[in-house]
């Protein structure tokens, strides 16, 4: 079950406010 990653923090934050869920912000060097 792959994670559907967003790459737009501000967009995710806007959705977080609407949905009442936190953002998980992952700074990564792993292969995409």
């Amino acid at each position: 079950m792959p994670i559907d990653w967003s790459h737009d923090f501000e967009d995710a934050l806007g959705r977080a406010r609407l949905e009442g869920r936190p953002v998980l912000l992952d700074f990564s060097a792993a292969p995409m």
Partner: protein, 153 residues
């Protein structure tokens, strides 16, 4: 860190997941890394809907440890929102469900703080100090809680 289905499902069910890659998203990595002080990978931040960082995980963790940290982050989001009952329940779930993780003693400490914040009853802190007498004695969280014991420092 997300190859374990349990982790991937937990992330998808509880968070809006955003990945900023050091090379593929280099400009964003610099911008957001600067804003949040992220200086190493992997770094995971739990950010509440107001944009405030509530928990941070730096460096790789195996799945069980990572799940404990993610659950802890959710509890801290509840705590910071003033939802102390929900926060305490989440903290205690970590202690009971993942007792051997590094998140567990931290969660035991914060469960006491959450109960105190909800009730303003100092007994919540004394109970927490007593709970540490039977477990996690070698952790810094036991030392921090020791000040709440009857004969505390």
């Amino acid at each position: 860190m997300y190859v374990d289905d349990r982790v991937a499902r937990f992330v998808s069910d509880n968070f809006l997941p955003v990945r900023v890659h050091v090379k593929d998203d280099a400009d964003e990595f610099q911008r957001l890394g600067g804003r949040f002080g992220a200086e190493w990978t992997p770094t995971i931040l739990i950010v509440d809907p107001q944009g405030e960082e509530r928990h941070r995980v730096e460096g790789f963790l195996p799945s069980e440890e990572l799940l404990g940290q993610l659950e802890f982050g959710l509890a801290r989001v509840d705590f910071s929102a003033g939802s102390y009952g929900e926060a305490e329940a989440r903290f205690r779930e970590i202690v009971e469900g993942r007792p051997d993780t590094e998140a567990a003693p931290q969660a035991l400490y914060w469960a006491g703080v959450a109960r105190y914040k909800a009730t303003n009853d100092g007994g919540a802190l004394e109970d927490t100090a007593r709970a540490f007498q039977g477990r996690y004695q070698e952790t810094p969280w036991a030392k921090k809680a020791s000040v709440w014991s009857d004969g505390g420092a």
